[in-house]
Symmetry: C2
Subunit: 616 residues, 2 copies
């Protein structure tokens, strides 16, 4: 018997309404571990290189990992992937919540959706097995309305859903998918792919309790976790670091234009706690409760059912738009969750539009009279809604900042903060140069989840010491030592995204290996797990190479090469030459051709995926 | 306070009789871990590329690892290194015993000997500190005589020694160094380097008890070890596998000429146990007792003080010379230990000479009348002694089989089983192709300790499963999958040779990480340890590149490309093309240039030894 997985995935052909089950062998699970690993595998194997991400040839893949649902803190994570309508390359997003564990309890580890349904449908997996059901009556409804309707029509209040709202239906390129209403598969436009398939959602209710190989060990680690998780994180959530970031120069402000934000304190996690917070939510099995629940009254009335804003949302709809109004940010967050918009893509695109407006590239004529200036909270909330509904200027912005800038013209591209078409998340690349390089080289476009870590603090390398990195490097370093830190961290994050284990839990590297062993029974080493992660990143790179990407796509917007002249990180920026050199070093360390970035056959052989070389 | 090391090494300038102490920082220990890591570091940093290995510019380095002396089974290991007089490249040999732990108890982690002493000396490190003492009266004496004399003149019977006998003094190129009389730093001719320096030995007696970071954990692992080590290994020693090897085609026979040995049973570990064995010896802290103690009466009278033959000796002086007389083998072993000859180099060179004799290339005129045929036990014993004393044909053979063949001429080179000048150890490369490739690419020449493992048994990859190798491969496979297995195993063996931890202990990968942590207090992962090992191998490669080696040196003798026509491995051999392809894959996986095998700057940067790139 296998622990940690069911050995089965569903394949759902939407036009034919055919649902089939595929069995996978144990080595498939151990080699790819799920999540990113599965997605990379299937996208590479099954998608033709030049397909339209919003056309019927794209496939949408839900994938749990071997840890998902494993009865331990951090095991709520799971992934969705497809070719991205933002980047035209490898697309993937992860989320926590309860939906992934519930999917696994149905007896399936993942779902591959193929083609486009003739009419709106949703997939229901209950005790009778999988079934495609009509969703015509749900089309146009918000996520909360949809979930309620599904629970009602199936007479089961415990059903878990992964859904799109109207933004996904309308193919907003940075539309997301939400599970349990508040957990967002945010990046790379997976909600638009779902919308393009006329697929409203997936509802699941499972009966198979999770069975782990070593429940005593799971209990032991759980006891450790309960004593060792960060109370501060629980107290103030992911936005607890706003003030520190602002003081060091790491809080993106007014579309990455300004060095710091005078209104930071008003939008901090501490302020949120002391004002609008009414509860703390969590994911499956997790004691931390880093998720926020807020309640706001008029004029920005916010329904607590939509949770509350996380750090990325606070910064993207807040400081990045020059807005210090937490109630307005919470409202923007609610609209994003109701309509299924990625809050990062939304905030960065609005910041872009505001800077265009400030520079006269957009005018009130373009915005239906909205004074789209930095700091205008009403305007931000209104534009979020217009994007979600593709109304007016919202229809342009719904294409994402790169495409919107091309449409607007007049030099607007200068203000589009994206890589490969995906909008910047809320980490200032000039503050953490390692993470900045990560934006440039990530297969998913600008992505802050490639490498949480940067260089350690001062002379100490932080947790990376445990991978043999002996010395810390300052945030403004981009030497080969920093690239190495990035590579190791990227492998590790990628492994966690394969296995379905949250990177925010305080488990050490060896503890994560113990968790894999306790759940699956596999006697793994961190070496094996790092290689799992590297395999995932390399498959994603290979997907992009096939899709036509070249080294020229691994780059920053120009602004990132220009240092601030004042503020905490004045004078720090990476010249193009220095970035190119770091990218060469990165390719080399990854076993990719130093010039072209194409994975070498030798490294693919070492990663036990030589089949990928035959596709390149 | 640091655990696992003293933070100090001795530097001994022999011509000036200057002894100095150098302090090393903690990161130096964690980055290189000792043993091979230290040797690679110092040889690269301090030796000019083209020096004569037997000239005064060579340096001889004794290096413990952080585990050496760590109060746990397997912690007796430590290393000696120098430029090799056999290969003119990177030289290193490891041994167990009690000497290494005792050296560490003196307060030093290693010793670097520089230059050549005017007169014979030995280094004594006792409670008064280090002191160079005259050894003129010891020159020409056997190891046992020398150890007794030193103990007597210093009035301490517990002194531990690392010594050469007359073979080292006479610069026999495959001379070894022996510690505690029976533990041989066997390979790459380190005894000749010691002799070239007029250095008879190093005697140590320490007072600093080993302090470990977590003695409770050490006790826990020790309890586990006592319940889990192989009783079979204790029972029959390393020669316990002779019969199995012979049946599968892995027992080198008559200079690798014949497919199996009809006299295998007579020289097996089982026969040894039932005949000449009188005791089992061990290394510091180890319950296994795999070392043999034998007693033999006339005509091959053997002193039990010299222990007994291990597998490599049984095969090299036995089957590889066609000899089924265990008493003669034990006698040859005794002479090697008394005179400080590597039994592997000795046996392979004698096997070579026997095949020359059988083919008329050598005649009785060359051998002082000795009938030097396969199977002639008397002749073998006599020739061992002649090599040790450089008498007659022994003086030619003392140069090692490669140089002897060049001197003999008449096509003798065809029979010289060596790589880079170092003689084959006792593993048939046509039986285990992975290990065979290891002979070709090892920086030390033909070396069986690069990769103990081969392809697992049947479909199961054996212990390598824990490094993420999911499928076994047959012994006669040399696909990229096999190369990967080799690379992973080489990293791991190399790490063990850095840390000073015996590979024969049954500890798993994660347990070895736990041992490192328990002894040093470092919270390490297997990832870090694998990279320590890779660092060691890569520094050795870089040393060879600087010394003038090229890809052309990574090759087999012709015979290895010719399959047996009968026997268990009939038809199995690697063609030159196939070997070259495997070598390219190996280079690629190592991050070395696929064509030239030169380590790339990117990989050196990742290994945190970019300084090496500046030497290439």
């Amino acid at each position: 018997m296998a622990y940690g997985y069911n050995g089965k995935i569903l394949r759902v052909n939407l036009p034919n309404k055919e649902i089939s089950t595929e069995e996978l062998d144990d080595n498939f699970y151990r080699r790819y571990m799920g999540g990113r690993g599965f997605i990379g595998y299937y996208l590479l194997k099954e998608l033709k290189p030049k397909i339209d991400p919003l056309g019927p040839d794209n496939k949408l893949i839900f994938a749990t990992g071997v840890i998902t649902g494993g009865r331990i803190g951090g095991s709520g994570r799971n992934s969705v992937g497809a070719k991205s309508p933002l980047t035209n390359g490898y697309g993937e997003a992860e989320a926590g919540g309860f939906w992934g564990p519930e999917l696994k309890r149905t007896g399936y580890d993942g779902i591959i959706f193929e083609g486009k349904s003739e009419k709106p449908v949703y997939l229901w997996i209950g005790s009778e097995g999988p079934e495609l059901r009509d969703a015509s009556h749900l089309w146009g409804k918000t996520t909360l309305e949809t979930e309620s309707a599904i629970r009602e029509e199936l007479s089961d209040k415990l059903i878990k859903t992964a859904l799109i709202g109207p933004a996904g239906e309308k193919l907003v390129r940075f539309a997301c998918i939400l599970n349990d209403i508040t957990h967002s598969y945010g990046r790379t436009g997976m909600g638009a792919v779902m919308g393009s398939k006329n697929l409203k959602g997936v509802a699941v209710r499972g009966k198979r309790p999770p069975v782990v190989a070593d429940s005593a060990k799971i209990k032991e680690i759980t006891r450790w976790l309960n004593e060792n998780y960060s109370r501060g994180f629980q107290d103030t959530g992911t936005a607890g670091g706003v003030m520190g970031l602002n003081e060091s120069g790491g809080l993106p402000t007014r579309n990455f234009r300004d060095p710091s934000f005078e209104g930071a304190e008003a939008i901090s996690g501490q302020t949120m706690r002391d004002t609008i917070l009414i509860g703390r939510d969590t994911c499956y099995g997790c004691p931390i409760r880093c998720k926020r629940v807020v309640k706001v009254d008029e004029p920005y009335k916010v329904d607590p059912a939509y949770g509350g804003p996380e750090y990325e949302t606070v910064a993207s709809l807040g400081s990045n738009c020059g807005i210090d109004n937490l109630a307005a940010i919470a409202k923007g967050n609610e609209i994003c969750a109701a309509y299924s918009l990625d809050t990062i893509g939304t905030g960065t695109t609005i910041g872009f539009a505001m800077e265009c407006f400030e520079n006269g590239i957009l005018t009130k004529k373009d915005t239906d009279g909205i004074e789209l200036r930095f700091g205008n909270a009403d305007a931000m909330v209104k534009i979020v809604e217009m994007i979600a509904k593709r109304e007016g200027i919202g229809d342009v912005l719904a294409e994402g900042c790169m495409r919107a800038a091309e449409k607007i013209g007049k030099g607007a591209s200068e203000f589009a903060m994206h890589v490969k078409g995906q909008e910047f998340p809320m980490h200032e690349p000039r503050y953490k140069l390692g993470m900045g390089m990560g934006y440039a080289i990530s297969p998913t476009g600008a992505d802050h989840m490639q490498s949480i870590h940067d260089g350690g603090s001062g002379k100490h390398p932080g947790g990376l010491l445990r991978l043999g990195v002996l010395e810390g490097l300052p945030a403004n370093d981009l030497s080969p030592g920093k690239v190495r830190m990035f590579v190791y961290q990227q492998h590790w994050n990628s492994f966690n995204n394969c296995a379905g284990l949250c990177v925010f839990l305080p488990y050490s590297y060896n503890q994560r290996a113990e968790i894999i062993q306790a759940i699956t029974g596999w006697d793994v080493t961190t070496w094996e797990l790092m290689k799992v992660g590297e395999r995932g990143t390399t498959m994603a790179r290979a997907f992009n190479m096939r899709a036509g990407f070249t080294r020229a796509d691994d780059k920053f917007p120009k602004r990132m090469h220009e240092a601030f002249t004042s503020g905490p990180i004045a004078g720090v920026a990476v010249g193009e030459d220095r970035l190119e050199e770091a990218i060469s070093v990165y390719y080399d360390m990854m076993g990719w051709d130093r010039e072209t970035g194409v994975p070498t056959r030798g490294r693919l052989q070492e990663l036990d995926i030589e089949w990928v070389a035959d596709l390149l």
